[in-house]
Every structure is written in C-alpha cells, then in structure tokens.
Amino acid sequence: MDASQVTQVTEMMYALRNPAGIPTYPIIFIGLGVLTFALHILFVQLMLGTSVITIFGAFKNDAKWRRLAAAMLEIAKVSVSVAIVIGVAPLLFVQVVYDPHWYTSNVLSAVWVIAFIVILIFAYWAMYAYYFMNSKEKDKTKEPKGKVWMLTSLALMLVVGFIMHSLTSQILHPELWKEWYVQNGVIDYSGTQLHAYNLWRFAFFISMAIPVTGGMLVTYRRFKMVREDADHEYLNWAAKIGKKWIKLGSVISALLYVAWMMTIPETAGDFATSFWGIIGGVMVLFYAIWAQVRLRGDAMFCSYMALPMALVIGLVVAISREMLRYGILDGFFGYDFMDYKVVMDWYSTGLFFLTFAIVGGTVLAYFLTIAWQAGQTVGVYTPSPMVNRMGTIAIWVVAIWTLQFFVVGFYVWAQ
C-alpha cells in the first residue's frame, strides 16, 4: 500500500466515527473492554473445557469419569450464562471507541452476525436438552442418554466462537473493507461471507480451555473436599487430571500463541517480537511453571488460586491482543482511539462506577457467600447473623438505587 492509499483508509475510519462523541476519556473504555474481555473469555474457555469433559465422560465407561462429567455439566451450564452476560460488556465497549471498525466488520458479514444469535440459542438449548434427559437419573455412573445433544452443543459453540473470531479479525483489515464490499466489480450487499480469519489465533484461544479447565478441576477438589460427605479419592483423582491439564495445556497454548504471532498481518510490523507480543506467550507458559511449583500435594491455598491465576494470564493475553489492534490501527494507519471527541458527562460516568462498586460489590458479595456456603453444606444451610445482615444491606442498596432513579428523574423532569 502506498502512502496515499493509507491516508484514504485513515480518512474513512475517522469519517465513520459517531459525531455524538463519547462521555468519558477513551482509555477508560479500552481498559474496561480489556478487563471484561478477559473475564468473558475465561468463562468461554471454562464452558468449552467442561463440555469436553462432559462428552468424554459420557463416552468413557468409567465410574469416576461419568461422575466428573455430570459435575462439569453443571459448571458448563452456568459458564455459558456467565460468559454471555459478561460478554455484553466488551461488546458494549468495542462499539464505543472502535465503532468504525466493529460496525463495518459486522455489516459486511451481516448474515453471520444474525446467525450468531440463532446458533448460540440452539447451542445452549442443546446443552439443556442433554441436561434434562439425564438430570433425573440419580446414579451418575450410568451411561447418559442423548449424547448427540451435547456433541451438537459443543460443535455449535465452536461455530459461534469462530464467527466472533472472524468479526474481530476483520476489524484489523480496514485496507480490505472496500474490496470485500465489491466482489468481481459488483457491490455485495448480502453480508453472506466471513472475510478474514487466522486459524492459529482461533486455535490458541480455544486451546486455553485446557489449562483453564485444569484450574477448574483443581478448584473443584478444594471446594468439595471440606464437605462432610466428600469422596476424597475421587476428588484427588480429578485434581490430578487438572494439574496435568494445566501443564500440558499451557505448553500447547504457548506453541499456538507462537504460531499466531508468526502469522499476524504485515500491517502489525514487528509486534510479534515486541514486549507485548512476547509477554503474552511467556505468561501462558508461566501458568505451567506456576502449577508445577505451587500445586504440589494438597495445595490448600493455591488450589483456590488456580482460577484467579488463569484470569491474570488471560488478562495479559487480552492486553497483548488490544496492543496488537492498537498497533495495527494506530501504528500503521494512524487511527488513534485516544483522540475520540469527548463530550464529558460526569453524572452517568459516576453513576456507573458507583453502581458497579457499591451495588455490584454488596449484592455479589452476599450472593456468592450464600452460594459458596450452601455448596459446602450437607442439608439446609442457615446463614449466620452476619451473613443475614449482608442480605439486609444488599436489599437496602438495590432499593436505594431504585429510589434515586426516580428522585433524580422526577427532579430533572420537573425542571
């Protein structure tokens, strides 16, 4: 590409920005986008890994695997929900500062964007279909029914993952957008094609399901071992598999990361050998080393650290991914998200952060405490007075939030 072509592409990207601007400094949206993406992809990987265990256990005629498969199905179901709800946040933030890129990429593959919704619903329902076929069976070591539903679910989940991968890959090629729009000299309004992908990059993110699920298995043993009815032999067996998966999976993922870095677009320049290019792969490999050192024996404390460690590693990879995007768009094309027009709005900015910290913090602290304690209790769990007080405070917090909505609203309306 010559300089004038690059200028044209850059002008186009700037022209596509929304004239309404954004209500806070762009770096905040990028920061939140990266953080929530890391959380989202962690649950995606958990969902994929636990689904694989569910399927493997269903096909393997082994009592422990069958038990583990049934337990992991519960985690897979919740992980899909959490992955979807957390995924809303990066989806929101990418539209704020990367609207020219996200919207163009989407429109050019519109049919796939719509298909994403339908396929994901069916993938989720297929998982529930499998669950309902087997949920009433008390003996979890029996061969489950309807295995094809679980296989279908996993396959469809991978398809939606690939669609999302392709849409985000298309963002990185603004120089090709017009070419994709005009096919053989005629404009293609159909949106039926996915135009860009990098199988190494896709495989890397999918492969991270192995170490992340390994971390889940280690945590599962630690969580369940304190119950009075705990089967330690089974739990230790599960944790052993988990440790193996962390180590082996991290090595596989690190190799795929290298392959991804070797195949990034030319417009990324020397990103692969830059600090952020290298640190992503190093951190993935570091997870294996950490597991080797810190998860020996019972590892009472570190077993609970396995998933937060996976999140930290995912966060570094998410930052690298963002730096790659920034490197291409700003480094090569001169499109800088930092110079987006800011129409500052302190009220809505403050309301979000307060809601996030106070409402989210209070309520989730209460909810997770209850879920945690109930999960470790045999029979009916009755909370302590302190936990009960947490519940009362949480009710007050959401009630006051609702009240302020109306008070502020009526005040503004009456002005």
């Binding site: 809303v88 704020v96 404009i187 996030f356 879920a371 959401v398 009630a399 309306w413």
Partner: protein, 485 residues
C-alpha cells in the same frame, strides 16, 4: 474532507433488514419482560412462603424459575445483545447514536444483569438448600435488580422516539436526554405489560400443578395480576399517545394499517377473557393450551405495539436527529453535532459516502443502474425493500409502466426536498436523481432480474473498456519506446 459517517448497506431480500430487527426485538421483549415480571412475582411469593412457612409456593417458584431459565433467560440473554447485533447490521448509526449517548447507562444495566444471572440460578437451585428467609432475601434482591434493568432500558428506548426534554438539543447532557414525560409513561406502560406477560406465561407452570386447591389459588393470583395489569396497561397506552410528538401521531394515523386498531382491541378482549375463564375454571389450564395461549396473546399483543413504535418515530430512527437511512438530518448544538445534509447537497450522496466504490463516484452512462441501485440501497432500503417481498417493497409505490421522466419529477420534487412528512430529506445531485430514477423504473417494470442483467452488462462494458484502454496504453508505450530508440 466531505465524507460523512455512513456504513456499507446490508440488504436481505426475503424479509428486509427492518423485519429481522423487529423479529429479534419482539422475541427479546417477550423473554425479557416476562423474566422481569416473574422476578417480581417470585419476590412476592417467596416473601409469602417465608411468612406462612409454605413449601408449595417455593416449589412453584422453582418450577417457574426453571422454565424461565431454559426459555426466557437463555433466549432473553442472547437476544438482548442480539438486538445490538441486528441493529448494528441494519442500522449502525441508529444504535451508534444510542450507544454513544448512553454507554454508561447500558454499563450500569449490565451490573444488574450480572446480579440477575447469578440470582436466577440461586433462586432455582437453592430451594430446599437454604432456609426460607435467605431464599426470600435473594428473591427480593433479584426482583428489584430485574426491575432496575427495565427502568434503565426504558429511558434509552424512550430516547429513540424523542429525547427526554427538548432542551437536550440545545444543551445536551445525559439527564436531559434520558428523563422526560414520555420516559415515565412508557415505564408505567411496560411495567403493566410485563405483569400481563408474567401472568400469561405463568399459566404454563400452573398447568403442571397437581393439587387442585393450589392450582386454583395460583390461577386466581395470576388471573387478577393479569386483569389489573392489562387494564392499567391499556389506559397507560392512551396516556402515552399524549406524550409523543405530533408528527408521530400524524404518522400513526396515516401509516399504520387499518387493522391495527381493531386488532389491539381484539387482543385486549381476548386477554381479559382468557384470565376470567382460567380463574373460573382452573382445570382447563393444561400445558398445551396455556402454551398456545401464551404465544398467541403475547405475539399478537407485542407485534402491533412494536410495529407502531417503529413507525411512529419516522423519519427518524433515534433521538429525532438520525434519519432512518442513517443520515444525520438536523443540528444538535448541545452535542456539537451538525446536520450532514449540507455536505450531501454540496458533493452528492455518492461522494459523501465513504464506501462508494471509485467507479461509482460519478454517474455516467456506463454505471447508471449500479449507481442508482447504490443510492436506493443507501437511502431507501432501510424502510423499503427493493425486492418483491420484505419491508414495504418499493415496487408497490409506483404504477406499472412508470416512465423515467415521471420518476425523476417525483424523486426531485419529493425526495430531495423532504416533502413527505414521514420520509427523510434525501439530497441528490441531478446526475444522482437520474441514476436513482432509472434504477427505480427498471426495478418497477422489470424487477430484480432486469436489474441484475443491466448491472452485468454495465460491468462487462466497463471491463471491456478497461482491457481496451490497457491495450492502447501498451501500444502507446511501445510506440514511445521505439521512437526513443
């Protein structure tokens, strides 16, 4: 630089992109309103179960919750971002306008979503595993958090029709855009509607209750909830009509089909009748009947309501400043937004659009139909499908055998001037008027087949001309090099 913020166009010939958005939105409203209403119902029932020490109510919550989890939470949580996806591809600047003004509001709603998702699992799976008091507390938090999601989104939906306060155009500001008369009435209307939905969908769960006395109790509870909310909702709809711009009422009177009014009345009467009958004869509630009625009542009620809302805000799609065809049609000094119409008037839509291919930037005899199709896609296809089917097909608006001359008069006299109240003003250069008119006439008289053939011919001619030019250039270069020798 004369480029404006326009994206490529997605054209779906069967349904039209507008219907795709409407289908997903209707499905989402069905799922999300039911889940919010049910969350509040659960809070009430769980409180009652705690006070009266009843297990049957908790069991009802568990069954209804599980049903919701599989159908409305799965579908609702996916079709929620699904609306973003569909509007992104059908109307990127429409959703962009909302996102860029209300990103923090959506982010705030997201906090409540997370609470909802964790909460619904706890409500369903912790029945019998935690004491009733704890279950009640979880249910109350879950109910209020769900309600908060509705409050937040209504402000944004309301902005789609018009910003909360008129002063927003001059002064901007999130609060001025979010809160207004329309916002509050719409909030009340949706609260009523969500309880109606909860009562209707709840019938499916009531159908599964074995104990006749308990079945009767729940049928009556849901019946009263449904009757009161339906009547309140209908009254609030009338009030809502007083809080929309006059333009919207004008559009409603002129554009909505004749069957709209009677169909709303039939749905209303049918809904009330259904509740009365099920209260009097709970035994007739079986799963298939309740399920079928839920689909019939809710879809029949929702579809006209969503269609009306979509039609009434025309020619705008968001905030009374973004046209339905994605062009910004007025100044908003409060947000430092300028109308894009002067730019288009100056350079034409083809040059103003960042995605216009080079060979279409100037209309000539060799690209007239392609350019006309491009203009139709940009300016018209969001509301009028150029195909046989889909949303308000273009060919229905012109008589058979219409001539290019007549079409040009219409395009220039009506479209470029913005002389139809519910259609955007669409500036065009004279050459663009000719191209669009030629395309519309061909689309009207020969249909898509004729258009495809004409475009193919234009492309072949261009390719041939290009080959010939390249050949001539080569000859010229050869001659030049020989002369140099």
């Amino acid at each position: 630089m004369d480029l404006i913020s326009l994206y490529p166009t997605w054209y779906e010939p069967m349904l039209g992109s507008g219907w795709v958005v409407a289908l997903i939105a209707t499905f989402h409203v069905l799922a999300s309103h039911t889940s919010v209403g049910a969350a509040m119902l659960f809070a009430y029932l769980s409180h009652k179960a705690y006070r009266e020490d009843r297990d049957d109510l908790l069991d009802f919550i568990k069954k209804y919750g599980l049903f919701l989890m599989v159908f409305t939470y799965v579908a609702g949580s996916i079709t929620g971002p699904g609306i973003w996806y569909s509007t992104t591809v059908a109307s990127p600047n429409g959703i962009g306008a909302l996102i860029h003004s209300f990103v923090w509001k959506w982010a705030t709603e997201w906090v409540f979503f997370v609470i909802e998702v964790v909460g619904v699992y706890m409500i369903v799976y912790l029945v019998g595993k935690v004491d009733k008091r704890t279950h009640m507390k979880i249910s109350i938090i879950f109910g209020v958090a769900s309600f908060a999601t509705l409050l937040i989104i209504v402000g944004i939906l309301s902005f789609m029709m018009l910003p909360g306060k008129e002063v927003w155009f001059e002064e901007g500001g999130y609060l001025n855009g979010f809160y207004g008369t329309n916002t509050f009435i719409q909030t009340g209307m949706r609260i009523a509607f969500m309880f109606t939905m909860t009562a209707v969908v709840g019938g499916i769960v009531v159908a599964g209750i074995k104990d006749p006395a308990f079945k009767k109790e729940m049928a009556r509870k849901l019946g009263w909830l449904g009757i009161i909310s339906t009547l309140v909702g209908a009254a609030l709809f009338q009030l809502y009509l007083t809080a929309v711009p006059e333009q919207a009422l004008l559009v409603m009177e002129n554009r909505l089909p004749d069957y709209f009014g009677p169909s709303i009345m039939i749905v209303l009467a049918g809904t009330l009748g259904y509740f009365i009958v099920t209260m009097l004869q709970p035994k007739i509630i079986v799963e298939s009947f309740a399920g079928a009625m839920a689909v019939i009542i809710l879809v029949a009620g929702l579809w006209p309501e969503e269609t009306a809302r979509e039609s009434m805000r025309k020619p705008y799609v968001a905030g009374q400043y973004v046209y339905s065809n994605q062009v910004i049609g007025r100044d908003v000094p409060g947000m430092d937004i300028k109308s894009q119409l002067p730019t288009i008037e100056k350079v034409g839509i083809l040059k103003a659009h960042p995605f216009t291919p080079e060979h279409l930037q100037t209309v000539n005899a060799g690209n007239k139909i392609q350019a006309g199709e491009y203009i139709a896609m940009v300016y018209c296809s969001n509301c009028h499908s150029p195909s046989e089917t889909g949303i308000r097909p273009l060919h229905r608006y012109f008589p058979d055998g219409v001539t290019e001359e007549r079409m040009q008069k219409y395009v220039k006299g009506v479209l470029t001037t913005g002389n139809i109240a519910y259609m955007p003003k669409m500036p065009m250069l004279d050459s663009e008027v000719e191209a669009l008119s030629a395309y519309l006439v061909m689309n009207n008289n020969g249909g898509q087949k004729a258009i495809t053939a004409a475009i193919k011919q234009e492309v072949e001619n261009r390719d041939r001309a290009l080959v010939e030019k390249n050949a001539m250039d080569k000859v010229a270069v050869l001659e030049l090099s020989q002369e140099v020798k």
